[in-house]
Each structure stands twice: as C-alpha cells, then as structure tokens.
Assembly symmetry: C2
Homo-oligomer: 300 residues x 2
Amino acid sequence: MLGVFYSMIVVPGPASPNLAKRISQETGIKLAKVHYKTFPDGESYFRIEDDLKGEEVVVVQSCSPPQDKRLVELLLMVDACKDLGAERVIAVVPYFPYARQDKRFLPGEPISVNTVIKSIESAGADEVITFDIHEVHIMERFSVPAHNLTAMRLLAKHVKSLDLESPFVLAPDQGAMRLAKPFAEVLETDCDFFIKHRDRVTGEIETKEKELSVEGRDAILVDDIISTGGTMAKAAQILKKLGARRIVAACTHPILCGNALQRMRDAGIEEIIGTDSIEGPYSKVSLAPEVASFLSKVAE
Amino acid sequence: MLGVFYSMIVVPGPASPNLAKRISQETGIKLAKVHYKTFPDGESYFRIEDDLKGEEVVVVQSCSPPQDKRLVELLLMVDACKDLGAERVIAVVPYFPYARQDKRFLPGEPISVNTVIKSIESAGADEVITFDIHEVHIMERFSVPAHNLTAMRLLAKHVKSLDLESPFVLAPDQGAMRLAKPFAEVLETDCDFFIKHRDRVTGEIETKEKELSVEGRDAILVDDIISTGGTMAKAAQILKKLGARRIVAACTHPILCGNALQRMRDAGIEEIIGTDSIEGPYSKVSLAPEVASFLSKVAE
C-alpha cells in the first residue's frame, strides 16, 4: 500500500504509541520517531526526529484520562507539526474529551466539548477522526471535516470468536442502541435496551427492570464508554436476575476509573473487552484497521 | 471605587480563589460565585451562579502546576463566560505556562508558548494580563492586547519590612537583572548578577563564581520562577562562600517542585518569599494591588 500513502507520516502521541504503530503497520505509512518527556514542573515536552515539510501528517493521540494533559499534548503536537512545515494535519483522537458536557444541563455551566473543538481547530487540525463519540450530534459542531468512526464491528468480531452460548446483545440505556444494533448484526443475533435515569444532582443511576428472554443465554453489554462502571453494573444485576448465563461487557473506551472493575465483577460481569482507544490491559481490540481503511479513502 | 467598575465582575478560577477575592476586595468589583468539581474520570466541571450578560468579566486563573489542567480550566472558563453573554473577557493569568519553551532549542521541538497563546485567544479572551513572564518578547506574540505586569515592587516592599542588614540584591543569572534592578531600587541598594550556563541535553546548571562585596551583608536572590531550586541553590552557595550573612530568595512564581525546598535550605537560603501567583505557603505577597491598579486604568 506504500504507493497510496507516499506523502503521509504517522506521528504517535504519548497516549497512543501502540495504536499509532499498528496504524503504520496496517497502512505502510512511515511512523515518525518522537521523544517525549515531562519536565520536573509537569510541563510536557517532545521532539519529532523526522522532517515533516510538505507531508500529510496523521497525529494519533487519544484524550483519555488524564484528559487535560492529553489534550494539551495534542494541541502542542498539531501546532508543532504545522509549524514544522506539514502540509495538512489529520488528528486521530479516538477518545474525545468532554463529550459528555455537550449541552448546558444547568444554567451557568460550560458547554465544554465546544471549547475542546475550538482549541483543536485553532491549533491547526485540518481534519479530525474520532471513535464512537458520546453524542453523534457533536460532529456537526466542527468547522473542519470531522468523522465519527465506530469500533462496533471490530469489537463484535472479537466477541464472535469467544464461542458464546446463544448470545444476546444489550444496550444498558437507549442511547447505546445505535452501537448495540450493528454489534448484534455481526453476531447475527437480537438486541434490546434498558431504560436508565441519571439524577443530575446526585449522579445516582436508576435502571428500570424489563422482561427479556435471556434465561441460559450469554449476554453482551455494549456501550461507548465504561467510566465508573455504574451503568454496566446495574444492567448486569438485572440480567443475572433474569437468568442470563455469562455476562461480557464490550466498549470502545474502557476508562474504568475508581473501583469500576470491582463493581462490575461484583455484579457478575466476567470479561471486559475494550479497544486501544485507551491503551492498557483492556485494549483487546485495535482500532487500527478502521483508521487504516479510512486513511486509504483519504489518500485515494 | 464601585462607580468605576459598575459593569465588571471577577470570576475566580479554581487555581486562584484567594487572589480573585483580594482583587474583588481591592477594587470593589463583584466576585462571582462559582462551583467547581472534578468528575470521577478527571474532567473539570464548574458552574457560574451569576448572570454575566453584558458584563466585562475578569477571569482570574493562574496556570501553575498542574499546568495542563489549569490551562484547560482557563479555556473552558473564558469560552463559557463569552457563551453566557459576557461583553468582554480579561484573562488574568499570573503564571503563564510553557513560557520556557518560547523557541526551538533543538530541531523538531514545539514552540509551546505559541500554542498556549493561540488556544487562550481562540477561547475568546479579549485581553490578557500576566506577571513577570519568563521572556518579555513573548508578549509581542499575542494578537489581543496583552500586558506583562511585575511583582517586583510588591515583593521589594515586603522584603524592606524584614529589617535586613545592609541588603544586597542578586540576580542568579543575567536574564533576571530586569527584575533585580527595580527590586534594588525600592530597597535603595545595589544589585549584580551571576553568569549561568545550562546544558541543553543534561539540564545541568553551572554558575560561574564572581567577586562581590557581600561580606557580612544580607543577600536577596531575585528571580521570576523558582522551579527545582537548582539555580537559586548554586547562587546561594557562592554567596555563602563570599561571606554573605542571611540569604533570602524572592520570586513571583514559587513553583518549588520536587525537592526544591530542601535543596535551597541546604544551600543556606533562610526564607522564600513568593506571591499568590501560586497560592500556598509561600504566597506571602498578593498580586492584587497591581491587578487592581491596572483594572482601574482599563475601567476609566
């Protein structure tokens, strides 16, 4: 594929070294050598060894926790690539930060995701790629071309290989149905959803019970983000009550903060499958094939 | 002074609640009520209780460590103030982050401070106030009016009250002479500087010895930032050798990371005097009077 991508180079951000490497391997696009460090006072530093003049640069940097550090690194990298002569910069930001503050829930609140978009664009990104953003309507707020890819087909293919018993796909809330549907299609099975209510003041989650025919079947809970694990745990408890056999949780962004793991295990979730949007023990599926396929279209 | 500032409101950032309060007290400008929290995943949240419609808003937020978190909070606050109807936003950013990465020291490095300026401007700041920025030429890179105020007169007045013995002011490197001179003027005494060399690769500091008549005198080391304390410690060691009596270190931004305190104490520095650019045990001098005096000129 080298011919197609001759003027492209992948610049790995400190949050996504493995994903960047995989994208380079999948596409044959050269991987830039970048040195990173954090100064003793906490400021980020990097140095790009390769010449970027006239290149189309793909900066790969997820903005998962610590989000603010990751975001500032992204801004510094995009701006530096431009300043070092890059012709265009495509920012691959698998986890898009502050996407859950996409509207003013209470008066006087910021619409934080708008500020993030503005900052990435002002840094010089010419195109943005993200994955399974929390609310799809956010994509309309970009001024530059922006693309919301999905990890669902990749995740479902991985789950298919697990040899589950009569699998059933469940979205822990109605919003996740847009993810659960394509997931269930790959598994050639049915899917449904629970109704969830979050108290805006206390943050408490209430998930309504619902009759489902899951007795003796393996259930796959599908969502974009697993953060505190609260939503997944509530859904798993109901599934267990209904007689589900094994419960697996699949998501694009395994943030898993605080005691999320323990909470999910206690609720009966046996396995957690995430992607390298967040590099770590739960990034069992790589987003690289989807990024590669997208870049091949850009390069054509 | 209420009449002058009738349409202004001070919005305190999470890094600078006390400085914001002092500015409000000095000027009589109303202090907005702001609630902050950090979500379990690490994202920042706030809510401004007051109505900002048509107001001239003074956002006070130093970007000291953790710089990236403080910077993103600043961007979110400036953007939110505008979005909530503010007529103009003045960003008071006493510590300006990434000011030490103001040029490309090695090929392939970012010029990080430019990215920071761009992001603050794109968030919507109409005017920026900072204090004793590491390199004054950085101020020319702003597109909006930007002002570099100095804490030196305030710090020197505080030091004057300490009843020092025949005080002598010393800049630990030549760059700090622009700060040491006005400082010495307030104390009505003389000042000098050491020659410092920093190895760009190892980060090692070498300070050249120099004959100075400090025998039996109290010395005040003056700089913009005390970060690891290395520069201050080297200078103090030489001053001790030359027979200086007490050694005091004064700076605008007492970052004091790692073992800076121990290092400075070991070198014979008896007291550290900083400002509320960084709120904590060493913010012995408030920047509020300088900000108030500047705002009174803006309001006229």
